[in-house]
Structures are given as structure tokens and as C-alpha cells.
Amino acid sequence: MKTAAEVTNVLICGTGGQGILLASEVLSGAARASGMDIKKSEVHGMAQRGGSVTSHVRFGSRVFSPLIEEGTADVVLGMEQMEGLRWLHYMRVDGTLLIPDIRINPVTVNIGAARYPDVEAGLASRNAPYRVIPALAIARELGNTRVVNLVMLGAASTLMPMIGEQSWMTAIERRVPAKALGVNMEAFERGKACL
């Protein structure tokens, strides 16, 4: 594992409307609360209309590029299965891919112009280290399907020991609306317990 002197790269990916911006805000906030330099990139505009969405988060002692270079992500955090596979080539050889128990058909699949791929077979054939997190199942148990992003982030947090416990809590408190704080905290903890 890395020390804070190096740069950690986390690529969050999914589809428009899945709470990717919130997840990357919480992650950036947590890295910042741990005293690191941070940069992050995100997508606005056209792609948000149900398209494929990514957010690049980089933190360490000094960060230059706001974009992660392909093949160098420590963590690829997918909020949707096929999107995890789509962005796998960003991952470094000893990185980890996390995907949820969620599949969202793109329009191309809905109208029969394409087939939803067998994601796990694709990952296995590439020898990619990955874990499936039952984020939707957990979110349903918690009675709020909108907290999938925090379950996933909780799982990912176990791969980032350079960010302290308290930093995560501070970041979640700052970013999540007060009335949803409890369920989001719980989602994060449940995610953590998955790995």
C-alpha cells in the first residue's frame, strides 16, 4: 500500500443520476480532511442525460493532473456493472475494481441494437481483481435505494488506509443533507463491512 507522499487515483464510474458527484465529493472531502492535496474531474452537460459518467479523484502530497492516466487507477469504483467493465483499462495491475449488484440497460440494449455483456466473464477473462458489492440489496434493506453510492464508497474506503476514519465521517457530514445523514452513515458502514 501507498503512503500519502504518492498519489492515489480513484476512478468512479456509472450512469447519469447515480450519485457519482456526491460520492466523489465525499471522497475528496475525506482526503482533504486527512491533509492531502487533491484534484478531481467530473462531467457536466450532455453526458449527464443518462450517459456514461466518470469522476476522477486524485490525492497525495502534490497532485498535478486532474485526470487519471489509463492503467494507473488504484481503485475503479463502478456504480453499475457494465460501466465498471468499460473503465477497467484505467486500473493499475495491482488495483481493485468494485462493482455493485446493479445493471442499467443503455438505450442501445433496450431497442435491441446491442446486448448487455456478461460482465463477470469479461472481468475473469482479463484476470481483473474485482469484487461484487451487494449495494442495491443493502440499500433496499435500509429502505432507500439512493444510498447505493455510499455503500459502494464505504466498501472502497477499506482500500484507502491513508484516509482516517474521522476524515470520512467529517466529509459525509459536510456533504449529505442533515435529514439523510443517518441512513447515509449506515450505508457507508454496511459497505465497509463488505470487504
Binding site: 474531474s41 450532455m46 492516466e69
Partner: protein
């Protein structure tokens, strides 16, 4: 407005480039800001409106209006800022080129946010060329903190050299976040208006003098640039010298931390003495820049020396660290540990419940189509509707239809409507409509009024009834406006009433007179759904005819020869699929729906 209280006076905040520009406007005493939205620039005015009430801020109907208003504020001695996407500067080019002659009394900052990679644009133009053509000074930040500082620098230069100043951002600067050091707002006085006809009325006799002044100003600015703290040499290994600016600087530092670097923050005019010094200090020169060979060609022409650049770094698309690494011959080209997977594309689509879907469904059903324009409704081009056939620029739907009619007559206007959004119609559709009526056109204009500027994330405009801060404002009445332009046949329909929609299209398309159909239904971003209704399928009644699939709704997929409706995606106040199902297999309990 209570967010204003939450952004502190001092300390360090994690801000996007756009938020940092807004912050800079506040700290450096900007009094007035006006803009028309456009990705990636939109959040600048949004942030000013939300967080900095000391700055008078407003949405303009288009970029030309915004810049002219800003010019007027400057004439009155106020510090003023406008922001636009790259193509917005084309619309504002007319005032820009002459304001360059007239100059600035209160400082003028023109933010141009370019979109290399076309994340959300129709072209990839490099507006550094416009700064050069218009002879205005230009600054290019490399991160959010610099974006903030450069607003201050731009205002200083503007007032000192009597010129509007361009602050050129790119998507990656606008939409990436980094740490910004905050400061308090400086008190800057509005100087007041003093008449000066020689300066502000560029009749040829005046303009000739003004032009001389511009040429002199640019020479003075070259010298100023040589000493500017934003242009700096970072000494390193002298065997390779890299000239770079903006976001490209970050990629260079990432990939080759040991190289000698000339980082240019002021890129028009170029600081020639500093560049000369840098050239002399290194053995080989490479320019790393996104977009056109703007720096490369100027340096080559000036010194008549070999300068590499676009031979290594592509003109097309957005740069990223890997592209720069390969261009500089560093490391393994394009070898990633995990091979890229080919998975189905996920193109953007009209949202479930989108009002535009009804209009495009009806168009394709009657085998008609449209000349199109820019907005969410451009997605009418996608399958299954494929009912939008041309796009040039904002406002182009109406004018292109007029031109088509001149070429092929009713063959065009009997089959094609001009599809244009409400914000776009205000931006630049009105003049096309006037042209159609004036020159005897017989087209049908379909104003797709969803009550908001949706594509860019939901901004108010003059026909929504609200202003930038969400306060009530006078509202343009489209029906009256179109009648006043001379259109006799103006009708308004709910695009989700498919029968009415189809009827309106059939009647107006066959009418050999100009007409307007206003399709009015609020965007799902602004309308609150009245319940949680989800469409249901009765599999007994379903005959697998796929009529529902022609609605093109993301919530419906076809599984085992039957439609499957996603409860997560189905929008409560929409029943398009129910309307088109011929056997009544689809139903929705719209109880309580508006």
C-alpha cells in the same frame, strides 16, 4: 443566498475552475456580470448568483447581449464580467472586435470556456485564435487557484491597458476541482460615466485613431508579459525545453517532472523576450498545447527555428496525461495492464417523462421530421424517432428550413418543421421567424417550450418568468410575440397529448402559410411529479407488437417478447406508452396526476 454566508472570507476551499472564477469576480470587486449559459461555462454565473449577492448578476438572452451589457457597465466605470462557451464567443464576436478598439473604463473580463474533446459541443474551435484576431489580451489558468487570481490580473490589465481581457478556460479547467486560497472582497468604486465621443463612437475617423492605439497597446502588453508572474520558466534538464499553457502544463509536470518548462499564463500577446531567453537555455524545443498549433506556429514564425508540437501532440480531441506521455516519447505507449473492453455505447437519451418525446413520437409517426437546433431536443435525432435532420448552431432550425424551402419548395416545408427550444428561440430563433414571414416562407416552427434551459442544467430565461436568482421576472409571451412577427397561425399543444400533437402537426404542415406550434409541458427537472405511478403490463393483453418500443423510453426494455418497465426509471406523470398501446395491455393509475 444563505450559501453566500457559507463560503468563508479566508482559508482554503476545494473549488471548480468555474467556482473559482466566480470567487475571483467577488474578491476583485466585480460589480456586474451577465451571461448566457453554455457548457462548460454555465456554473460561473450560477455561482455568482448563488453565493455573491454583492455582484449584480443576470442571464442574458444571448452572448452578444451579455457582452454589450457588460460593455455598457464598463462605460459606466463598473468592473464587469461575462462568461460563455467557445461558440458563444462567435455570437458575441461583433461587439468583441470593436470593444477591443473602444477599450474598457471599468475592467472587462470575457470568459471563454472552450471544449476540447467536445464533451458537450458541436465543434472544437480554439478561441485563442479569436483573442489574437480581436487583438485582446488573453490569460489561461492551469488550475482553480490560478483561475481566481487571473480574474484579478485580467481586471488590472483591462483598466491599465484600456482593453477587454479574455480569460480562456477549457472544460478540464472549468470542471475540475482543486484547492483555492480565499481572500476578502476588495472595495472598488464604480468610477461613473463620462461622455467621450471620440473613444466610444467608432466612426471611421475615430476608429482609425483607436486602431493605432490598439497596435501600440499590444506592443506594450508584450513587454508587460515578459515580467508577468504568470509567465515563468521552471528550470530543469536543459536537453528538452517544453513550452506549454493551461491544463497542458499539468500533464507535462505529471509526465516529465524534470524537464525545463516555460509556463505561459498570458498567451496573447506572447512575451517574446522571455520566450527568447527560454529558447537560448535549452537544446531542443517542444510545444505541448491542446487544440491548434497556436503557440507553435507563432514561435516558429517569430524565430524561424525548428519547433516541434503538433507532430507529437494531436490537434483533435482533449489531451490527457497518457497522450502527452506518448507524444514526448516517454514510457510504454498505450499499454494498460487490463485490455480495454468493448461494451455497448451508452449514448445520452431524452429522460423518461421528457416532454419532447411526445413531439418527436408524433413527428415520426406521421413520417415527418425536422430541421433541428441545439438543446435536449437535439436528441430527437436518435432512434427510434430519428426525426431531426439538421443542426448548425443556435437559431439555425428556422433559418435552415427557410433556405430549404427556397431550394425545394413545399417538398421541405410540407414534411419538415423547424424544431427549436424555448431558450434557443429567445437566443436567436426570433430573427429567423421574422425572415420567414417577411420573405414569404410557409414553414412551421415548433417551439418546444419546456419552461427552462434544460440542456445546460436548468437555467431561467426571459420566457420562464424567473430571473437568475429565482425571483419572479416579466415573462415573454410566445403566442403574442409570434403573432407580432406576422404569423397568423399560432397554436399551443401539450406534446404528451399525442392525438392533439399529431393533429396540430398534420394541419400546420399542410398549411401553405407560416405557422407556429408551441409544445408546452414542463421539463421533468422543474415539474414535481404528483405521485409514484408506474406503468403496468397486463401480459394477457400484450400481443408483442412493440408499439410501446417506438416511444423510445429508457424505462422500457423488451424482454422475452414483452415490454418490461423499470419502476426506478418510469416517470409518474407520463403515460405515452399507455397512449400508444393498441390492446390496452399497458395501464397507469394516473390518479392525482396533474
Amino acid at each position: 443566498m444563505d450559501r453566500a454566508k457559507r463560503i468563508p472570507e479566508s482559508g482554503v476551499e476545494f473549488l471548480s475552475g468555474n467556482e473559482a472564477v466566480a470567487r475571483g469576480a467577488w474578491e476583485y470587486g466585480v460589480h456586474f456580470a451577465s451571461a448566457y449559459p453554455g457548457t462548460p461555462s454555465t456554473e460561473i454565473l450560477e455561482a455568482i448568483g448563488e453565493s455573491y449577492p454583492e455582484i449584480g448578476s443576470q442571464w442574458a438572452p444571448n452572448e452578444k447581449v451579455a457582452l454589450e451589457t457588460v460593455a455598457g457597465a464598463s462605460f459606466g466605470g463598473a468592473r464587469a464580467l461575462t462568461a460563455m462557451k467557445h461558440v458563444g464567443l462567435n455570437v458575441a464576436a461583433d461587439p468583441l472586435f470593436t470593444l477591443s478598439y473602444i477599450g474598457a473604463t471599468g475592467g472587462v473580463v470575457i470568459v471563454s470556456a472552450d471544449d476540447p474533446g467536445m464533451h458537450s459541443s458541436q465543434n472544437e474551435q480554439d478561441n485563442r485564435n479569436i483573442a489574437r484576431a480581436a487583438k485582446v489580451p488573453m490569460l489561461e489558468p492551469a488550475d482553480s487557484n490560478e483561475a481566481k487570481l487571473m480574474v484579478g490580473e485580467a481586471l488590472e490589465i483591462s483598466e491599465r491597458f484600456d482593453a477587454p481581457v479574455m480569460l480562456r478556460l477549457t472544460t478540464r479547467i472549468s470542471h475540475s476541482k482543486s484547492l483555492v486560497e480565499l481572500g476578502p472582497r476588495r472595495a472598488v468604486e464604480v468610477k461613473g460615466y463620462e461622455r467621450n465621443i471620440q473613444k466610444r463612437v467608432p466612426i471611421p475617423a475615430h476608429a482609425r485613431k483607436l486602431h493605432s492605439r490598439v497596435e501600440k497597446r499590444m506592443l506594450e502588453l508584450e513587454e508587460y508579459g515578459d515580467g508577468s508572474p504568470f509567465n515563468r520558466i521552471e528550470k530543469g534538464d536543459p536537453s528538452l525545453g517544453i513550452v506549454t499553457s493551461g491544463i497542458s502544463y499539468q500533464y507535462v509536470k505529471e509526465v516529465l517532472p524534470s524537464a525545463s518548462v516555460l509556463k505561459l499564463g498570458m498567451t496573447n500577446p506572447l512575451p517574446w523576450k522571455l520566450i527568447e531567453r527560454f529558447i537560448e537555455s535549452v537544446e531542443k524545443l517542444v510545444v505541448v498545447e491542446e487544440g491548434d498549433p497556436y503557440l507553435q506556429e507563432q514561435i516558429r514564425a517569430r524565430f524561424l527555428i525548428p519547433v516541434e508540437g503538433k507532430e507529437r501532440i494531436p490537434i483533435e480531441g482533449e489531451l490527457e496525461p497518457g497522450i502527452v506521455r506518448r507524444g514526448l516519447g516517454e514510457g510504454d505507449p498505450a499499454q494498460t495492464p487490463f485490455v480495454r473492453a468493448e461494451v455497448p455505447a451508452r449514448p445520452p437519451a431524452l429522460c423518461p417523462g421528457c416532454p419532447h418525446r411526445g413531439a418527436f413520437y408524433a413527428l415520426s409517426k406521421i413520417k415527418a421530421s425536422s430541421t433541428g437546433d441545439i438543446g435536449c431536443y437535439t436528441l430527437g435525432l436518435m432512434p427510434p424517432h430519428e426525426a431531426l435532420e439538421t443542426v448548425i448552431c443556435m437559431g439555425g432550425a428556422v433559418t435552415v428550413l427557410n433556405g430549404l424551402e427556397k431550394a425545394v419548395g413545399r417538398e421541405a416545408t410540407g414534411k419538415l418543421v423547424a424544431a427549436i427550444g424555448d431558450s434557443t428561440f429567445i437566443h436567436s430563433g426570433i430573427t429567423g421567424l421574422i425572415d420567414m414571414v417577411y420573405n414569404g416562407g410557409t414553414g412551421t416552427v415548433m417551439i418546444m417550450d419546456n419552461g427552462i434551459t434544460a440542456m445546460t442544467g436548468g437555467q431561467q430565461h426571459p420566457a420562464t418568468g424567473f430571473d437568475l436568482r429565482g425571483e419572479p421576472a416579466p415573462r415573454v409571451d410566445f403566442e403574442q410575440l409570434c403573432r407580432a412577427c406576422g404569423v397568423k397561425h399560432v397554436r399551443t399543444v401539450d406534446p404528451h397529448d399525442l392525438q392533439e400533437m399529431e393533429k396540430a402537426l398534420r394541419e400546420e404542415l399542410s398549411r401553405e402559410e407560416p405557422s407556429v406550434i408551441i409544445t408546452r409541458r414542463p421539463c421533468i427537472m422543474i415539474g414535481k411529479p404528483s405521485g409514484r405511478a408506474v406503468a403496468r403490463l397486463d401480459p394477457e393483453k400484450c400481443v408483442s407488437c412493440r408499439a410501446c418500443m417506438r416511444v423510445g423510453c429508457p424505462a422500457i426494455s423488451f424482454v422475452d417478447e414483452k415490454p418490461e418497465i423499470s419502476g426506478l426509471l418510469c416517470y409518474p406523470d407520463c403515460n405515452l406508452c399507455v397512449q400508444v398501446c393498441p390492446t390496452g395491455a399497458l395501464s397507469k393509475d394516473m390518479e392525482g396526476a396533474r
